[in-house]
């Protein structure tokens, strides 16, 4: 075939340098990514442990767990357009699976966890607790259980083309239902208190600061691994397809894809990440309870992602850590007002900086060029649309 469509615009003006990321070659990309990971690893593995007290380091471990959830939300929401307002469910499934195993291990073989003796009228361990005695079951379950639930839920929901606010409300309702279920089954779940007072972690005493440090290192390493996975997915063909589904689900359908399957993968991966985060949260904090996985924490996961920049790789992580840190710092000083501040922050970011703080970095980097994300290009696009 020959070229027949001459492009009058190209002929008239020289093609502008392609804006943003696509300009860089793949090798430069990879170098930058490797350098970024090395920097992140140095920060997490050397600088933070040297600079921070044991108390602060354990707080950071907690924040990094939240950041893991954020990586998944960045994928599902930022790239896939699914506003997952109920990630607490998956965080909770992972957390409870891990905590159940650790409680059983604390109690010793053949014994029941302490809380069951206290308020249960149980004579023996409930059937559904038993498999969690084995680490070979419990550890994979922390990730696979949330993924399985997300698979079933996503299969039902995406094929029926539930999306946008409806999907957000649905996922939120699920978080509420899970909390009600846990509280209602106090005898076997610990009820409102949750599973508390976890002492050991695979033979290591969690009261020992050295072991707490070890847990921190595991968490930091896991976060980096999840970031690498998310980066790979974002840069794969699948990642491009996911953005296409986000921006034009119908169009993708007409290209011969089933958008439901595309969304399902991102949602299931995000659920797995949240489950892993929940599982590691338990040894870091020593507790998992309904209050940590319900509606409010589910929304807080999303706020961090929105603030950092949902469509970027690092935005959700930095945003999640920043918001979690601000919550600790500010709620110490102004206990009553933090919730309002947080809500305000969310509204301001969504309304005025939809690309999050990451889009500010992008704007600064491309000063004079075409901004890719955020307010300016939106306004421009809107104008172009009405013209």
């Amino acid at each position: 075939m020959t070229t027949v469509a001459r492009d009058p615009v190209t002929a008239a003006e020289p093609a502008p340098p392609p804006p943003g990321e696509p300009a860089a070659g793949p090798s430069r990309h990879r170098f930058r990514a490797a350098a970024g990971f090395a920097f992140g690893a140095a920060l997490l593995f050397a600088v933070a442990p040297l600079m921070l007290s044991d108390f602060r380091l354990s707080l950071l471990a907690k924040y990094l767990c939240v950041a893991m959830v954020a990586v998944g939300i960045g994928l599902a929401w930022g790239r896939g357009g699914m506003l997952a307002l109920g990630q607490g469910v998956f965080f909770g499934l992972g957390g409870y699976a891990m905590a159940m195993h650790l409680k059983l291990a604390d109690a010793g073989p053949g014994n029941m966890p302490d809380f069951m003796m206290l308020y249960g009228q149980l004579d023996e361990l409930p059937l559904w607790w038993r498999p969690f005695a084995s680490p070979w079951f419990a550890l994979p379950a922390t990730v696979l259980l949330p993924m399985a639930v997300a698979f079933v839920l996503g299969s039902l929901v995406f094929r029926r083309r539930v999306r946008g606010a409806y999907f957000a409300i649905l996922s939120q309702a699920l978080a509420a239902a899970m909390v009600i279920l846990l509280i209602g089954q106090q005898g076997t779940t610990g009820g409102t208190n949750g599973l508390t007072d976890i002492q050991g972690f695979f033979g290591y005493d969690l009261d020992d600061p050295v072991n707490q440090r070890m847990v921190y290192f595991i968490i930091a390493g896991t976060l980096l691994a999840l970031l690498a996975l998310a980066r790979h997915l974002m840069h794969s063909r699948y990642g491009e397809l996911l953005v296409a589904v986000r921006d034009g689900e119908e169009r993708v359908r007409f290209l011969g894809y089933d958008p439901a399957a595309v969304k399902l993968v991102a949602y299931v991966v995000a659920a797995g990440m949240a489950g892993l985060a929940g599982a590691l949260f338990v040894p870091a904090v020593g507790i998992i309870s309904p209050a940590l996985i319900g509606i409010v924490p589910s929304i807080e996961f999303v706020i961090g992602v929105a603030v950092g920049g949902r469509a970027t790789l690092l935005g959700p992580v930095l945003g999640a850590v920043a918001v979690a840190w601000a919550r600790t710092a500010l709620s110490e000083r102004f206990p009553g007002t933090w919730t309002y501040l947080q809500g305000l922050l969310f509204v301001v970011v969504v309304a005025f900086l939809p690309g999050g703080l990451a889009s500010l970095v992008g704007l600064a980097r491309r000063r004079g060029g075409e901004p890719r994300d955020g307010l300016l290009s939106r306004v421009r696009r809107r104008r172009a649309g009405t013209a």
Partner: protein, 257 residues
């Protein structure tokens, strides 16, 4: 690329929404490799017809492309049989580059193993399409920053790499400059060497220059069909376009042979 050309054959197609019949028993045949223009006043059922063929709305009757029945399949399955369409408003993926847009369009048959890997280089069919639609110099540009006409070409290019054998284009030259219309028309001529093309269009000048055959729809039914000259000479078409009321239920005017 398989070189086999197929024709489109529609029989007694009907689409109703809540009692309103948008397409009312349309039968028409588009020969393999034809460039068929569908014209008609607003509300004639042109876009609904395309919606029905692509599986977007439910319809009764029969639509065959080659030897395959298209009705009753979900949209993405119909697409995989080689049916591609564009929309009145351009629907390229604005946050992705031209190259990424085309690569996605080319990939509906890719395995998950391929999808989960990174794209290396430019697939041959994508490179060819970039040439054909004249956007080779803009492969790495975000589609959202393209000019209006270029977006339309990108859409056509996406149909090419999708390996659509039947192209259904909804007002492809709306809002284009004269040069862009010419380029688009020539593009359609090239494309029709290996594909069957159906175009919905209001632009009569464009129609005269590039249509091989024309079907005029009116009130959900076929009013007239033939070459451009035949259709233009048809008094029923003149009536509809000059605004005289025509009762779709009455018999054709006596001038008909």
């Amino acid at each position: 690329m398989s070189e086999q050309l197929h024709g489109l054959s529609i029989r007694d197609l009907r689409v109703s929404f809540d009692g309103f019949t948008a397409v009312d028993g349309v039968s028409l045949d588009v020969a393999p490799g034809d460039i068929r223009f569908l014209i008609g006043p607003n509300g004639a059922g042109k876009t609904t017809l395309v919606d029905a063929v692509t599986g977007l709305v439910r319809a009764t009757g029969s639509v065959r492309f080659g030897d395959r029945e298209l009705l009753g399949r979900p949209v993405h399955r119909t697409s995989r049989l080689g049916v591609g369409r564009t929309f009145q408003t351009s629907t390229v993926f604005e946050e992705l580059t031209v190259l990424q847009n085309l690569d996605i369009a080319a990939g509906a048959r890719r395995s998950w193993a391929t999808l989960l890997r990174r794209r290396h280089g430019v697939p041959a069919e994508v490179a060819e399409a970039l040439d054909v639609i004249g956007l080779a110099g803009r492969a790495d540009q975000l589609a959202g920053t393209l000019a209006h006409g270029q977006k339309q070409w990108l859409e056509i290019g996406m149909l090419l790499v999708q390996d659509a054998r039947l192209l259904l284009l909804d007002e492809p030259v709306a809002g284009m400059s004269h040069e862009e219309r010419d380029a688009t028309g020539q593009l359609l001529e090239t494309v029709s060497q290996h594909r069957t093309v159906v175009v919905i269009e209001h632009d009569m000048d464009f129609l005269r220059r590039f249509a091989r055959t024309v079907t005029v729809l009116h009130a959900g039914q076929v009013l007239s069909e033939g070459t451009v000259a035949q259709v233009q000479a048809d008094p029923r078409v003149q009536e509809v376009y000059l605004g005289h009321p025509v009762d779709a239920g009455t018999a054709p005017t006596p001038t008909e042979a």
